[in-house]
């Protein structure tokens, strides 16, 4: 894919060469530019000319060319993925990009400080070079790689915080509980505006169109220096080792460049049991239906069957009437169930949201209709008394008619008595 890398100067090619080479080795085409280059552009004739954008330039106040925070938002809305690495010397443009995507960077000049987890070798005395343990990472293998094997990651830079109403934010790397954000040179006069594990070192966002954005307060995280450094944490429980920055950077760029965690629906099919195509005029109530969805996952550039076992199907009419876990047989997920005895317009809904994966959403609208007037049972047991009564009535009428027509009244004593009484009255 085409990647635009912006550094403060073109020197980023040298300072971050290991990182950039590792990306290039994965088959991407990198264009490295200075952030103030007057020829910068993301769109040409309304089309994206880059698929991904890496900003490794902390101090950008104003982008060169046609680039601007709103242009970058447009880029994201059009499906582009963005990695923003800032630093203590943060420029307004980056802070604005963060705000456009539901994050906030700390003010320029501040750094994340942690007196208990800094690196003794690399730190210059401000306690701003942090050693990040794996417990501070988000537990999502797709985003941060295999965190169990990951060595501690070095971080030096500015704090980040997710917006209060940002419910799509992913806290990829949190600061430790003892960290806070402040200007290391200034005298502490006020409380830090962000502190503790609320401070993010790396924050991510998957927008609703599945574009991915990663913010980090440290461009050094990706630098050659940190890649090759050995950690030497002040915290005695953390053993010194080769820094995990390279592995972490690979994992996070794989995620942000949509090399991992991408799902797609290949086919969806639903039909009556024993048939193969959906009915033309909708289903009838209480029919048995089979729903099948084929989901594929992008792995190493190839679409392979998705193996997840926790995909659920909902059969919804405002509320779900049926909710079933789909049985996965090599990417073909299916379930058979009986339609509810409720008519209406229903949706077969698969809404699969997992951290790290793209949002999988599929809706098939069907109508569930009542039975035709000819589809009901013709003779029902509970109606037997009525059948009996109607036939007995008919028989009775015939009998009565015969008796009435052929019966001759013979005068009876009792009748006479009645007649005489009647006369008296």
């Amino acid at each position: 894919d085409r990647v635009l890398v912006l550094g403060e100067t073109a020197a980023v090619k040298d300072t971050h060469s290991v990182f950039l080479n590792s990306v290039k080795e994965r088959g991407h085409e990198l264009t490295v530019r200075a952030a103030d280059d007057s020829q910068l552009a993301l769109f040409k004739h309304g089309q994206l000319i880059f698929d991904h954008l890496f900003i490794l330039a902390p101090g950008v106040q104003v982008f060169g060319g046609s680039l601007s925070p709103s242009e970058i938002s447009k880029f994201v809305d059009a499906g582009g993925n963005v990695l923003v690495a800032a630093g203590s010397n943060i420029g307004d443009a980056l802070r604005e990009i963060a705000a456009e995507h539901g994050f906030e960077f700390e003010e320029a000049g501040t750094s994340v400080i942690d007196h208990h987890n800094y690196d003794q070798t690399l730190d210059s005395g401000d306690h701003t070079t942090l050693v990040v343990g794996k417990d501070q990472l988000i537990s999502a293998e797709l985003i941060v790689g295999n965190s169990a094997k990951l060595h501690p990651v070095l971080f030096k830079g500015i704090g980040l915080v997710a917006g209060k109403t940002n419910n799509l934010a992913l806290s990829i790397v949190r600061a430790s509980g003892t960290a806070y954000s402040y200007d290391p040179k200034a005298v502490r006069a006020t409380n830090p505006s962000i502190a503790g594990s609320r401070t993010l070192l790396v924050g991510g966002l998957q927008s609703r169109n599945n574009a991915r954005i990663v913010f980090t307060g440290s461009s050094e995280l990706f630098s050659n220096t940190f890649f090759s450094a050995k950690t030497n944490s002040v915290n005695p429980s953390v053993q010194g080792a080769q820094s995990g920055n390279a592995d972490f950077a690979t994992a996070i760029t794989r995620w942000v460049m949509k090399e991992s965690g991408v799902l797609r629906v290949k086919t969806v099919n639903h039909h009556k049991k024993g048939e193969t195509v959906p009915p033309v005029e909708g289903y009838f109530i209480t029919e048995d239906v089979v729903y099948t969805i084929e989901i594929e996952e992008l792995k190493n550039g190839k679409w392979v069957p998705f193996q997840g076992k926790d995909v659920q199907l909902e059969f919804v009419r405002i509320d779900p009437f049926v909710r079933a876990t789909l049985k996965n047989s090599n990417g073909r997920l299916s379930v058979a169930f009986k339609l509810p005895d409720v008519l209406g317009v229903f949706k077969f809904l698969v809404d699969y949201r997992r951290v790290g994966y793209t949002h999988l959403y599929d809706v098939q609208q069907v109508s569930v209709r009542p039975l035709w007037h000819t589809q009901y049972e013709r003779f029902i047991r509970s109606a037997y008394p009525y059948y009996a009564s109607s036939f007995s009535m008919m028989a009775g009428l015939v009998l009565f008619s015969i008796v009435y027509l052929y019966h001759k009244d013979t005068p009876v004593k009792g009748a006479k008595v009645l007649d005489s009484e009647k006369k008296k009255n």
Partner: protein, 757 residues
């Protein structure tokens, strides 16, 4: 020799009378038909009202797909996502009637579009109603009164209001069915023949298939039977006609899918069953009285009746309690207690035609007949017989119901026409007859002889002769004057009826008209403009949310899915829409997402001063929503501090933030009606609106018609990415926004000397 000439003159006289009758009825038909065409002549031959759009759509569906497809039609475009079983929730009589006419015309090679059949159905049936009324009145009184009644009903505004061309509604054919059923009932009661009773049941079946008002018949006929029993007028004729009518009618009415088991399972139908049972007992008593001793009879009578009565009451309540028989419905209670609906079922009270009637509208709809019908009633009471008891009961109950609900004026009109016909006919008979020569009076006796053939009430004729003597004292001048005055009244009735029909009842709801200062007519076609826009510019399966009044229209004209419509069968669904309309934007958005709403349609009359718009209906939305969601919606929150309903300066915060207010008045603040008027002046309500700078966050304006009458909004999708607004930022955002460089060089913040990269 003389006898043959007499017979010949008599037969020619009969022939002349028949001819005259036919001519008068044909004219009544023609006049009734013609006077209902105002709307069509002025505008177009389309369905003009809101509600009938569904009937038209259903008819169209039936003609296209056949009756069985129609009967089993599941309409997934209505009541989304619930859907509607049309075949089981509609009175199919109207559709079947017009479908049948269409089929007949088609097979005669008159190829007419079904729309024309629908448009002209109601005027055509008004002629049939006139004939049915003639027949009924003839049975009750005399052919002359029948002709009067037929002429009255043909043009009476109370009936015209529901049967103008283009108003394709159930009532259009139901009044005919009503009158014809009553005629057949009276006929069967008079003859005591099973045939007439069966015909009556068939006619009743037609009525059941056509209109929910059939409940009126199935309660009025038993009431009549009951009254006759109580008055001691029980006869075997009554027994035969009622029992055969009831049995057949009940079974037939159960064939209509919408009615189903109601005749045996709801309280509304129980009186008919009770009278049926009572009639058996009374018949048994009559049979037994001649066969057993008086004492035995009394024991049987008193003991049996008490036990049976007590038993039936107990059984009835047991069945209601057990759920086998539904208790009386809310609509029924609202007929007795006019405040009931307002408290318990706001959806019924929200309809303007369910409001109590003002006395003005009695005059407006009935004119002189309203004044004369008590006279007819009085004559009927004075000369009561079995069948006149019926018209008395009919008139009295109809007057009551018409007083409760404007809409039921419709059932009163036929009764009034019949009685007014009797009143006029009787008076004219009295006052014109004596001035006639002897020959005329002999012809009168001839007609009374004819009458005898089918009017067996011989005492009727006698009493009339007796009355003649009473009124001979009035001088001929007075008679002339009175006659002339009455004729003038009749002329005025015709003028009034035409005027009302033309000016009040022929205004289509689909197009609005107003006039300029010069008197030119301006047609405002906003509704069709909006619906056409929806039809052309939205996805075929787009779902449109609107208040229920417009549901049928959207479905019929725009062919889009609606959430609620004029068939208000599901109160909670309507309440959900009402809640969305009366909530603030974000709460409404949640409801709309749940319901998959794509577009929202509101009617706004503030620009042209159209008073039937959504803001004026809004309080009902709030009330209905409050009925289902009392926690979220409170009616008092929508009032000003002084307790008024206003969208003006003093409007409450809730009001100003609700979706309905925002949608109605969005961008309205920019408009200016006149030079000297402030922006945002609402012409319907006559004040400047309370809040002019309205911003929409979750919806966007999609279309507004020429006169702003219909405004369509689109529900936005959720924003692609969350943003941090400056007011809710943790870290204050300072400084201006970084502007976009126009292919200039950018600016990099200089690295502070202290910190190193």
């Amino acid at each position: 020799m003389t006898s043959t000439t007499a017979a010949r003159t008599a037969s020619s006289r009969v022939g002349a009378t028949t001819l005259l009758t036919i001519v008068v009825l044909a004219l009544a038909w023609f006049v009734g038909f013609a006077s209902r065409l105002f709307a069509i002549v002025r505008f177009e031959s389309i369905i003009h009202e809101f509600d009938p759009w569904f009937n038209y759509r259903a008819t169209h569906h039936m003609v296209q797909h056949g009756f069985y497809k129609f009967l089993n039609w599941f309409d997934e475009r209505a009541w989304y996502p619930l859907g509607r079983i049309v075949g089981g929730t509609v009175y199919p009589g109207l559709m079947v009637t017009s479908g049948l006419i269409h089929w007949i015309l088609d097979s005669l090679n008159f190829h007419v579009h079904i729309r024309e059949v629908c448009v002209f159905l109601a005027p055509t049936f008004s002629g049939l109603t006139a004939i049915a009324t003639y027949l009924l009145t003839k049975e009750l009184w005399s052919p002359g009164a029948g002709l009067f009644a037929a002429c009255f009903i043909a043009i009476s505004p109370g009936y015209t209001s529901r049967s103008v061309a283009g108003s394709y509604d159930n009532e259009g054919i139901a009044i005919f069915a009503l009158q014809f059923t009553y005629y057949l009932w009276v006929k069967s009661l008079k003859t005591g023949s099973i045939m007439w009773a069966s015909l009556c049941a068939l006619s009743y079946f037609y009525m059941v298939s056509a209109w929910g008002g059939y409940v009126f018949i199935i309660n009025l006929i038993p009431l009549h039977a009951l009254a006759l029993i109580i008055m001691g007028r029980y006869s075997s004729r009554l027994f035969v006609s009622y029992t055969s009518f009831y049995c057949l009618a009940t079974i037939l009415s159960m064939q209509v899918p919408f009615v189903g088991f109601q005749p045996v399972r709801t309280s509304e139908h129980m009186p008919a069953f009770g009278v049926f049972g009572l009639l058996q007992i009374v018949a048994l008593m009559h049979y037994a009285r001649n066969r057993i001793t008086r004492q035995q009879f009394m024991t049987l009578f008193v003991g049996g009746l008490t036990i049976l009565g007590a038993l039936s009451v107990v059984v009835y309540f047991a069945l209601v309690w057990g759920g086998y028989v539904a208790p009386f419905s809310g609509r029924f209670y609202s007929l007795w207690d006019t405040g009931y609906a307002k408290i318990h079922i706001p959806i019924i009270a929200s309809v303007s035609e369910h409001q109590p009637t003002t006395w003005v509208s009695f005059f407006f709809d009935l004119h002189i007949t309203a004044a004369v019908f008590p006279v007819g009633l009085w004559y009927c009471i004075k000369k009561v017989n079995d069948e006149r008891v019926f018209i008395i009961l009919y008139a009295v109950s109809a007057v009551y119901f018409a007083g409760v609900m404007v809409r039921l004026m419709l059932t009163l009109t036929p009764a009034v026409c019949v009685l007014a016909g009797i009143g006029f006919s009787y008076t004219f008979e009295k006052y014109l007859k004596d001035e006639e020569t002897k020959e005329r009076s002999s012809s009168q006796s001839g007609t009374t002889k004819d009458e005898k053939l089918y009017d067996k009430a011989a005492k009727n004729v006698k009493s009339r002769n007796a009355n003649d003597g009473d009124e001979s004292g009035v001088s001929s001048n007075v008679r002339t004057i009175i006659s002339i005055i009455l004729v003038i009244f009749l002329l005025m009735f015709v003028v009034h009826a035409t005027y009302v029909t033309s000016n009040a009842y022929s205004h289509p709801s689909v197009v609005l008209q107003s006039s300029t200062n010069n008197g030119d007519r301006i047609i405002m076609d906003d509704f069709r403009e909006a619906y056409h826009w929806l039809r052309e510019n939205t996805a075929d399966d787009a779902r449109v949310m609107s208040w229920w009044d417009y549901g049928y229209q959207i479905a019929g004209m725009a062919n889009r899915t609606t959430l609620v419509d004029n068939n208000t069968w599901n109160n909670s669904h309507i309440a959900l829409v009402g809640k969305a309309m009366s909530s603030n934007e974000s709460a409404a958005y949640e409801i709309m997402t749940e319901l998959d709403v794509d577009y929202i349609l509101v009617i706004f009359g503030g620009v042209i001063g159209y008073s039937g718009d959504d803001i004026n209906k809004f309080l009902w939305m709030v009330r209905i929503a409050q009925g289902e969601h009392p926690k979220d919606i409170r009616e008092e929150n929508y009032f000003t501090s002084t307790g008024e309903y206003s969208t003006g300066a003093g409007a409450s915060e809730t009001m100003l933030n609700c979706l309905m207010y925002k949608m109605s008045y969005y961008r309205f603040g920019e408009t200016r009606v006149g030079y000297n008027q402030a922006g945002g002046f609402d012409r319907t309500r006559g004040y400047v609106i309370g809040k002019k700078d309205i911003t929409l966050e979750y919806i966007e304006e999609a279309y507004t018609t020429e006169n702003w009458l219909v405004r369509i909004y689109k529900r936005k999708k959720l924003p692609n990415r969350p943003t941090v607004k400056s007011e809710e930022a943790t870290i204050p955002i300072k400084g201006k926004k970084a502007t976009q460089g126009k292919n200039k060089k950018g600016v990099i913040r200089p690295a502070p000397t202290a910190s190193k990269a």
